[in-house]
């Protein structure tokens, strides 16, 4: 039996909705899978994404918010017995088949983007029943970064960060590397004292660089920029 939501108002049950679709929407407008006709409910209020035996609630920027067990949530992994409140209506999440701590099933393969909030029409498939092609992780989709020197004799000089691994600094004084990872650019200390980003020492850990971060290295200040897409 799939998990379900039991809709109630003032403790009287209005209906039960099985979560047998990957994405179920909830809102005031009639096109929603679960329609709640009340002015406190936004036209498109929330969505529930179900992946195998687990469900995830996402508020769709509703006017009055979505609450789980009294707490305002934007995104929430549902647990058996959770009570979702929108306006005065309540939805109880019932899932007797929730995977248990000991349920170490064999690893399965699933298409990426399943946790996406919008058009997640993907279907789970096990390694044994593969069909659709994987959504290729698009190379070059990572925006290109650059740094511009802000101080010292090289002020104004720019470097596009095209290489996977870029070294900055002066050997014997202070050296750091910037690496280009699928998640973005990271700066890591290599030699000398730890680099400073936005006035703070970054420590020994790789530090994620954000647009307009100011890096201080070997006495030189420079700014990191994210340019448009690289191609």
């Amino acid at each position: 039996m799939p998990a379900s939501l039991i809709l109630s108002l003032n403790s009287s049950v209005l209906g039960e909705f099985p979560l047998n679709e990957e994405r179920i929407t909830l809102g005031r407008k009639p096109e929603n899978d679960i329609q709640v006709d009340n002015l406190a409910v936004s036209g498109q209020h929330a969505a529930i994404i179900t992946i195998l035996s687990d469900s995830f609630l996402e508020d769709l920027d509703s006017t009055n918010g979505t609450f789980v067990n009294g707490r305002l949530v934007k995104k929430h992994a549902l647990k058996n017995g959770d009570t979702i409140s929108i306006g005065k209506h309540e939805l109880k999440y019932v899932n007797d088949e929730a995977s248990t701590e000991d349920n170490f099933e064999k690893t399965m393969v699933i298409r990426p983007g399943m946790a996406g909030h919008a058009a997640a029409a993907a279907k789970v498939h096990t390694a044994a029943a593969s069909g659709k092609p994987f959504e290729a992780a698009v190379e070059g989709a990572l925006p290109l970064g650059k740094i511009q020197v802000l101080s010292g004799p090289g002020a104004g000089k720019e470097l596009e960060l095209r290489k996977a691994l870029i070294t900055l600094g002066r050997p014997g004084v202070q050296v750091a590397v910037i690496t280009r990872r699928p998640q973005g650019y990271f700066i890591t200390h290599v030699e000398g004292s730890q680099p400073i980003v936005n006035g703070q020492s970054i420590g020994a850990q790789a530090h994620s660089l954000k647009d307009h971060d100011v890096v201080e290295l070997a006495g030189v200040k420079m700014e990191f920029f994210v340019m448009g897409s690289s191609s």
Partner: protein
């Protein structure tokens, strides 16, 4: 490149306490500076076939490709990657094709797949490539850090904000990977380059370790036994088994003993100075 005497490598693969056979595969060769770990999946014994194919194919492909490489650490201008990175990426993609072909042509291999994580060391640098939820960690001067980011549903849920990393530890969606070798005709590995410093210790591992042992405990185990990598490997496997051993546990450990530049000067002293 040959990193004998400059990189110390050890590995251990254990069936764990619940599974009947070991579907993980590991291999390393300091003669070419390469380490590979794969965690297979699929019915009967297809998982171990897939992981062994991945490890062997990558080893072989890289070994062959290195023979054609004139200089270590050269950067391809167009992609920004070192030639070694392109070679490793190509090796992973070809291994994927090999596994996929076997999976669709041999009934006993139907549906098999595997994760893979590989690290190649050259010119004071490394290339890391991975597909799936096998990981690479780095211990550098008391800082223990996960470098790879899992291709898993759980990681997607964290990225999308449904879980905090803390909540994710107790999540039940642990075993869903969003990328794997052998499932489709093509796969795109994540490839990153990192600088390597003497003293660094790298850990490649399957989820049989990370599902059973918290990062903090892995970190402490590494530090406590850091004078002997074999002890680290044995201890990590022991703790994973003690905590349940629900899956196969594999670890590969590599320690940079001394610099291994491809020319006389270290790599970062050759490329440092664009702004100075």
């Amino acid at each position: 490149m040959n990193v004998d005497g400059k990189l110390e490598v050890t590995g251990l693969s254990d069936v764990g306490r619940k599974r009947s056979h070991n579907e993980d595969s590991i291999a390393s060769d300091t003669g070419i500076g390469l380490t590979v770990l794969a965690d297979g999946m699929g019915g009967y014994r297809a998982g171990e076939v897939a992981s062994a194919m991945a490890v062997n194919a990558i080893m072989e492909e890289v070994r062959d490709g290195l023979k054609l490489l004139k200089k270590h650490g050269d950067v391809d201008e167009e992609s920004g990657f070192a030639r070694e990175s392109l070679l490793v990426r190509e090796a992973v993609m070809r291994a994927n094709e090999t596994i996929h072909k076997a999976a669709i042509s041999q009934p006993q291999c139907q549906g098999m797949g595997t994760t893979v994580v590989t690290a190649m060391f050259y010119d004071d640098r490394m290339t890391i490539a991975h597909v799936g939820d096998s990981r690479l960690y780095r211990l550098r001067s008391n800082n223990f850090e996960q470098i790879t980011v899992d291709h898993s549903l759980l990681q997607e849920l964290i990225d999308k904000g449904f879980y905090t990393p803390e909540e994710a530890k107790h999540s039940l969606n642990k075993n869903l990977v969003t990328r794997a070798m052998g499932i489709e005709g093509t796969v795109v590995p994540d490839v990153v380059e990192e600088a390597v410093l003497p003293g660094d210790i790298y850990l490649l591992c399957s989820d049989g370790l990370t599902d059973m042992v918290e990062d903090e405990e892995i970190h402490l185990t590494l530090e406590k036994n850091s004078n002997n990598l074999d002890d680290v490997a044995a201890e990590l496997v022991r703790i994973a088994n003690e905590n349940g051993g629900k899956d196969n546990i594999s670890v590969l450990l590599a320690r940079a003993l001394k610099p291994f530049p491809s020319s006389k000067r270290s790599w970062f002293s050759r490329f440092y100075d664009w702004f100075s």
